[in-house]
Symmetry: none
Subunit: 208 residues, 4 copies
């Protein structure tokens, strides 16, 4: 599959990707229709299967692609001179949202990824990349001296991440319910009160 993919014309691959991303984003895996995907991508039925073998193959490819894109952009755009963990985390959250905004269709697709059992299938990529990634982005050049003595650093980081993630999910859910369009800038700024609470909670008094 990968060999054939490499030879695929970039523009065409892009078209397929966008079409598929949108379809999978809009529907669950089962309900997503390869018919719609090829129709919107302007290619023939056979070609999709020529390149991706089957529906699952396409889905897996998309999953890897989105994940890899996210990783690439994060590593590229993160400012590692920022030593404050809270600012760092916010920065990364902003970058993530930027990726989602730049790639049409990715947002809902990413959401769908999280909501799918297929996470287990991503094991290989995630196992390879995530530890490295997170070791870097959430710890590299972080000034840990500001934290209160005796605080379990790793668990604190997790709480911060979880808080940001859940906040984001809540905003997305709310937008869905009310039919509102999300403004990423608002999400980002909305996190601030939570971060303030956590900063007060985890940092030494003089270091905030």
């Amino acid at each position: 599959m990968d060999e054939k993919l490499k030879k695929l014309d970039t523009a065409k691959l892009d078209g397929i990707r966008n079409s598929a991303l949108e379809e999978f984003g809009r529907n669950s895996y089962e309900k997503a229709s390869t018919n719609n995907i090829v129709k919107n991508a302007g290619i023939s039925k056979g070609l999709l299967f020529h390149y991706f073998v089957n529906k699952r193959g396409l889905y897996d490819y998309l999953e890897k692609f989105v994940f890899q894109k996210m990783v690439d952009v994060i590593l590229e755009e993160t400012d590692f001179d920022e030593t404050d963990i809270f600012n760092r985390i916010k920065q990364i959250a902003v970058i993530k949202m930027g990726v989602l905004a730049r790639y049409p269709g990715i947002e809902t697709f990413s959401k769908a990824i999280y909501n799918d059992k297929s996470i287990a299938d991503m094991k290989e990529i995630v196992d390879e990349m995530v530890p490295d990634l997170y070791r870097n982005i959430y710890t590299k050049n972080i000034d840990t001296s500001r934290f209160k003595d005796g605080l379990d650093f790793d668990k604190a980081i997790k709480i911060i991440q979880w808080t940001i993630e859940k906040y984001g999910e809540e905003q997305i859910d709310h937008a869905k319910k009310t039919g509102t369009v999300l403004h990423y800038s608002k999400i980002v700024s909305g996190i601030d009160p939570y971060i303030d609470i956590l900063r007060k909670a985890f940092c030494k008094k003089g270091e905030m």
Copy 2:
């Protein structure tokens, strides 16, 4: 739909519910088969649609049922003499897991709910019940004097809840990946270190 449902024999309704719960738990909404549901419930195709109008109607009913069951049990079993918010939250988490364990089929179904976009569809029930519910269970008779002065109580509660939820989700994911069976007692006790961190973070020194 609801009128007809009221006339439905309890035993028969029970059979349908269990069969449907199991089917929806085992599969995603689309893959779940009404054929299997009626077969296992021992009723005819037509009857299901007579009572539940269509597949989505059945699903929505189930969602409400499970949610309501959860609410009922929580309200019934929560010890409102427990004034410590951390203990209260843990208590409720334990109760929730108890419900999932007590109702065969509900567990996987509830998981499936979380893994589905259908959350948006639960709008009406959630909007009706949740605010009331949460106002009660996480605030009623809670001793807020232990919290540090100036702490935004609502947001702190949210952080605690989110932490517990995310921890649980992480355990479920991990179990899925490794094929391990989850022991709820272990999940519950595993949360303790996080709760300790948050307790230290949010409570006055003498009050922990």
Copy 3:
């Protein structure tokens, strides 16, 4: 499958059978199209699968049906007062061709059955019925005293059968090649010279 089949209206079953028999007769199993079958039978796609589960199920049913029909008619129409083995064999050949002629589509289908690996799948029916059948029709009330002394009776019967079968196959092939329509009466009479040869070869001089 069988339960549902029993409830099927005879006329409709007949229509499906004829349509399927014709399609399977005209094409190999793989090439035969269930689309054509339902179209010619005037039923919906779903109904076919409702009754026969899948394509193979339909095929197997047809196989059994044709075989059973053949067996029934042979047992019913064979004149067991005819003690001469040659006449008996000819008689049965005539009966067989009568069945093929009476059931439109069966002829080519039966041919297809013989030309298919599926014979292995018919094992169960064949194993049950054939031994009984042939023990009856080729030996019951046959006067073996006419045979030359020392002749292996079973093998001689086989040679006679094989000769008749091969002769028939040759005629069918020839008809196919030349596009001629087969007249069963001609086939039957064409066998006579071969039977004469074999009669002279296997029977005592005075007994022919």
Copy 4:
């Protein structure tokens, strides 16, 4: 097609032939995949169709090739000093099996030929070659004086051939059903009792 074929490099043609023979042997005509054929032959999709026009063209070529090979070997290896028709027929049967054994892939393919309606399509080759062939191999230098007076020689030969063929087919079917591997030597020797019966039946007493 034939012109182009002549220019085809022998080694490449051989590769295609073996690959195709194997694929058609393993599957029915419809199920046989040109994809598999080109893959195993190490050639491109386009090339196959360049030389053989379409799938049917390839199949027909193979049929002719196998048949011609059989004819060649039979004419070459038959011992025309053997004047006894029974020995001659057995000899040829042995030679046939030798061809099947010597050409990997041919065996299963030839079996498939028998199991196919395609016999009708072989019309042209068979019509051209068979009469000549059989006139030669079953009559050339045969001592007909041993036969009983008044016996229709041609029909008797046919009965002998048919007996041998049917016996072979029966063995192959039985092997298929039981999953046994066929030993050609056993087939050959298994025919003997039938030949003995026919010899006694068709030959003068002193001439056996």
